[in-house]
Structures are given as structure tokens and as C-alpha cells.
Amino acid sequence: MAVTERTVLQFSPTLTAKVHPLVIFNICDCYVRRPDQTERVIGTLLGSVLPDGTVDIRNSYAVPHSEFSEQVALDIDYHHNMLISQQKVNPKEVIVGWYSTGLGVTGSSVLIHDFYSGEVPNPIHLTVDTGFSNGEGTVKAYVSSNLSLSHGEQQQAGGRQAGDRQLPLAAQFQEIPLDLRMVEAERVGFDILKTTMTDKLPTDLEGMEASMERLLALIDDVYKYVDSVDEGRVAPDNNVGRFLWDAVESLPKLSPAVFDKLVNDSLQDNMLLLYLSSITRTQLTLAEKLNTAAQVL
């Protein structure tokens, strides 16, 4: 009877995760509202798996829990109820993992991770450091894989064939790359989301002004760069040069007359629209006056 023992450390394939800013907001809000006795907040992550394999984390909700020393108790009923309610609104969002606040992965996290592994095959564990222990707010995502020793047993005929038995020794939490691009937050405007209090929402024109200022700053930077390359202060970079060339080339090549005509036509169209809308408003005020002022004698 030959028994071969092989020690195999198994790694899962690397995933990437993408986190939407709403999730961070949710987690911070739940952390701020946590009951006084608990140190950290635990909750479920919802999202979907994109066709190219990245996990898209779109939403989250907190789950009440209690921890003492190494034991953790999670309110599973609450978790299921919230899941059902959330899925009524958005059936496409499914559980993709769980989150906890605080830096690093603790011992009790393994238990919770096991529970979530029951719900989803490969859950993502997100940690959001609300304590800013490293001097910065770190958001990290982990996937766990079981480290195990695998036994391969081969027996002669007459005995039963035993398959590979794997005894899990430990769980290794492996960090996976996290994409924190905040496209929606950019849309709303970081100024609104950054400060603790804004007085009013910016109007269209203020936003336009801000965009144009940024564009102007960019153009200034490009000028400075080109000047310094010209004077030999900075070594020229071919890639940057190619980008600049593409940008300049993307301006349509029209003769000044044609271009002027284009611009003037558009200007006139806009003026026409403004005129139309002003006329409509005058008409409305008139109609209003006529309607209510008319009296039946």
C-alpha cells in the first residue's frame, strides 16, 4: 500500500474588485451610527460579477452583530430580510461578499467569512479603516483561500478507493487589487461631497466656469511643458509628444470662413431658441391674466 503525501498550498485565481463610492458612504454612515458598545460594523456587500470576471460592488447594508472575545454572533434573520427587501427593488444585485471596519483581518473574521462562503462561492472581504490608523483611510479587499494538506491515498484492489481528503489548516486572506474609481461621485462634484456643509448647489453657469478654469489650467501646463522641452530644460518624451500631436490634430481642419459660418449658425440657433422661450413665457403670463381676470357679468 503506497501512500503518497503531498503538501499542496492552493491559491485561488486573482480577481479584481470595483467599488462604487456609494458603498464607502454607506459604510461610513453605518459606522457613525453604530451602537455604543460595538467597536466595528459588519455588513453585506451587494453587486454583480461582470463578464470579464471583475466583481462590481454596488451597494451594501449593515447587519447587527455582537462580538465577545473570539465569538461572533451575526443576526442572520436580519441579513436575509434585508436581502429580500433589496432584491425586490433590484433583483440583479446579489451578495458578493461582506465588509467590516477596522484595519486588517482579525481572527473572528474567519468565522464570518465562512458563513458568507455558504452564501456565495467566493466572497470578497472588504475592510474599510475608519480609524485612520495608518494616517490614511485604507480600503482593502481580500479573498480567502483555504490552506490545506492534501492526502492522496491509493489502495490495492479489494479495498475502496478513497479520494483526496483535504484538511483545512488555515485560511489565507489574500489581498486583491481594488478599483476605487469614483465616476458617479465626480459627476455629483467632489466639492459637494468633500466639505461638511455646502450652502447651495452650484448652478449651471458656475459649473461651466469651473470646467473652463480647469481646461485653461491644463492648457497652461501643456504650454509650460512644451516651452521647457524647447529650451532643453526637460528631456522630451515621445509618448507625451504623440498625445499632444493627437490632441492638436483632432481640431477639425476647416477654413476660417467655413468655421465662422458654423459657429455663427449655431449661435443664431441658440438665440432663436432663447427668443422662442421668452415669447412662450410672455404668452403664459398673458393667458394667465386673461383666464382669471375674465369675469362673468
Partner: protein, 348 residues
């Protein structure tokens, strides 16, 4: 027992009603804005609604959280489900210490007109909105409706508005009386139906610390790309289309009024003629010494007062039109700046 004027008995305090200061500003948390945007964008162009939770403090209405409603089918059984869902969500959120107080609702700026066309771009002023307001107002003292326009936000503007029905309009609506005299009495015109309340955005210190950290380092952000786009014609075209449709509706309403007035004046002429006839008859009878006939005859159909058509619809349509006009103004203004920018760029 010395009567102390400084100390009021409990009964006295309970008896004096507190006068609520008028609502001056709505304070929304960044979290709520992101949630609303996410929900409306996912289901655009369908109409989505959700509930707002928060606190009512003095002249500020704080909105601290919200949750979306599932899309409701036109089925009677689902009504009870909807109520259950709401209760369930409120209960769950309460367990994590979220404010359990409803302060209003939000919806995306879409409405379905009776002609099975979905009119987008901000034509949300409908009778349903008013009715929802009245429903909420019965239970909550102050409620607000937040409207978000996902299509307009693609132009780079955060199209978020907080609306409230004005008090005078609410009283009028309760009495369901929209005749001309009533409106003149109250001096109410179509601008007075909805009041727009300024919005303030607040964020907790923790989240602002996070955002400051996670802010993208790039000098140009996504909404710059949206704003500096040159092609706005599809948006403007659709706006104009809806504007024209609304003008058609408005002219129909005007015709109804004209018809009514014509009928009323015709009826009055008939009344006068009949009265004259009665008078001559009476004179004849007096001369003959018979009983005089009464000068009024309520059973005669020409004396029946004609119902005046309600002005509510025309008001709402007028509101929608003015909304479209405002939008056109805004977008045209932006296009001006963009066109001048391109002109300057080309001159170089």
C-alpha cells in the same frame, strides 16, 4: 398658593400649539444624493420613487437616509405588498440606528402622459404628484419631494430640486374649488402651486475625510467631459417637442374656457329674454287684474348654473411649459459659452 407667571402648568403647555417656523432649507446628506442618483440612473427612463427619512428641525428639514421603492405593477394585490415592504425596510433600518422618520419622498423627473408617451426632461408637475403630496401631508406635518432628472444630469449639471406644495394651494385643493373667483380671492396664480426650496448638502466628518483622500488626482473630472460637449441638439430637440405638445394641450384648455364663457353669455341672454317676456306678461296680467307670476323660475333649465371648468389642469400645464422654457434657457446659455470657447480655440 402663589401664582407664578413664569411657570406654566403642564396643561397649559400642552394646550398651546407650537407654531411651526416656515421651511427654509432642505439639508441633504451626500449619501442620500448618491443613493438617489444610483437608483434613478439604473432604471432610467422609467419612473422610480423612494422614501426619504430624516428629521424635522425648526426651519431646516434634514434628510439623512432614503430607500427605494420597488417598481409597482398595476395590480391590487401588490398594494399590500408595497406597504409591507415599506414597514419591513423601516424596521430593518431602525435596527441600525437610522432615523425612522419619514420626511418625504423622491422621484425621477418622468411622468407618463395619458397618451402612453413618456415625457421626460422634467415634466413632473402632474395631478398624481399633487395627490401624493396631499396623502403625505395628512400624516406628516412637513414633507418635501425631491425630483432628480437623470437625463439632464448627463449634461454635467446636478439636476436636483426640492419641492413643496404651497399652503394656500393646499387649502384650495382640499376644497376642490378652482373657479376664477376663488383664485382671484386668494390671489393665486400658477407660480404659486409649487414652491422650490433651496438645498444644502452636509456630510459627516468621517466621510469628508475619506473623500478628500480618495479624490481622483486628475485635473479634469468626468463632469467636465460632460459639460464641454458640443452637441446638445438632441436634448434641445426633445425639449422643443415637449414644449410644442404642451402648447397644444394649453390651447385645448383655453378653448374649453372660451366655450364655457360663450355658453354662459348665451345663457344670460336667454335669461334676459325670458325675464322680459315674464315682465310683459305680468303687466298684461296686472292690467287684467290677475295674479302676478313670479319673476324667477328655478325649474326652467336656462336658469341652471353651468359648471365652470377647473383651472387646475391649465395651471399644471403652464407650470410644465415654464419648466421647459427654463431648461431651454439654461442649455442655450451653456452652449453660448461653449461656442465662444471653440471659436477662441480655432483662432489660435
Amino acid at each position: 398658593m402663589a401664582a407664578n407667571t413664569m411657570v406654566r402648568s403642564f396643561l397649559q403647555v400642552a394646550a398651546t400649539e407650537e407654531v411651526a417656523p416656515p421651511l427654509r432649507v432642505v439639508q441633504i446628506e451626500g449619501l442620500v444624493i448618491l443613493k438617489i442618483i444610483k437608483h434613478c440612473k439604473e432604471f432610467a427612463p422609467a419612473l422610480v420613487t423612494g422614501q426619504l427619512l430624516g428629521l424635522d428641525v425648526g426651519s431646516v428639514l434634514e434628510v439623512t437616509n432614503c430607500f427605494p421603492f420597488p417598481i409597482r405593477e398595476e395590480d391590487e394585490e401588490i398594494e399590500a405588498d408595497g406597504a409591507n415592504y415599506q414597514l419591513e425596510m423601516m424596521r430593518c433600518l431602525r435596527e441600525v440606528n437610522v432615523d425612522n422618520n419619514t420626511v418625504g419622498w423622491y422621484q425621477s423627473a418622468v411622468c407618463f402622459k395619458h397618451r402612453y408617451q413618456s415625457t421626460l426632461l422634467g415634466s413632473f408637475q402632474t395631478v398624481e404628484l399633487i395627490e401624493t403630496f396631499m396623502n403625505y401631508q395628512e400624516n406628516i406635518r412637513r414633507c418635501v419631494c425631491i425630483i432628480y432628472d437623470p437625463l439632464k444630469s448627463n449634461q454635467g449639471v446636478l439636476a436636483l430640486k426640492a419641492l413643496k406644495l404651497s399652503d394656500s394651494f393646499m387649502e384650495l385643493y382640499r376644497s376642490n374649488n378652482f373657479t376664477g373667483e376663488k383664485l382671484r380671492e386668494k390671489n393665486l396664480s400658477w407660480v404659486d402651486i409649487f414652491e422650490e426650496i433651496p438645498i444644502k448638502v452636509s456630510n459627516s466628518a468621517l466621510i469628508s475625510a475619506f473623500m478628500t483622500e480618495l479624490e481622483a488626482d486628475t485635473p479634469v473630472i468626468q463632469c467636465d467631459y460632460d459639460r464641454l460637449q458640443l452637441s446638445t441638439s438632441p436634448f434641445l430637440e426633445r425639449n422643443m417637442e415637449f414644449l410644442i405638445e404642451c402648447m397644444d394641450d394649453l390651447s385645448m384648455e383655453q378653448q374649453k374656457f372660451q366655450y364655457y364663457y360663450r355658453n354662459v353669455s348665451r345663457q344670460q341672454a336667454q335669461q334676459q329674454a325670458w325675464l322680459q317676456k315674464r315682465r310683459t306678461e305680468n303687466m298684461g296680467r296686472k292690467a287684467a287684474g290677475e295674479e302676478l307670476l313670479p319673476e324667477e323660475d328655478p325649474s326652467n333649465p336656462i336658469f341652471k348654473p353651468l359648471p365652470e371648468p377647473s383651472r387646475l389642469d391649465s395651471f399644471l400645464i403652464t407650470n410644465q411649459i415654464s419648466n421647459y422654457c427654463n431648461q431651454i434657457n439654461g442649455v442655450a446659455g451653456q452652449s453660448f459659452s461653449r461656442l465662444y470657447l471653440t471659436k477662441a480655440l480655432h483662432e489660435n
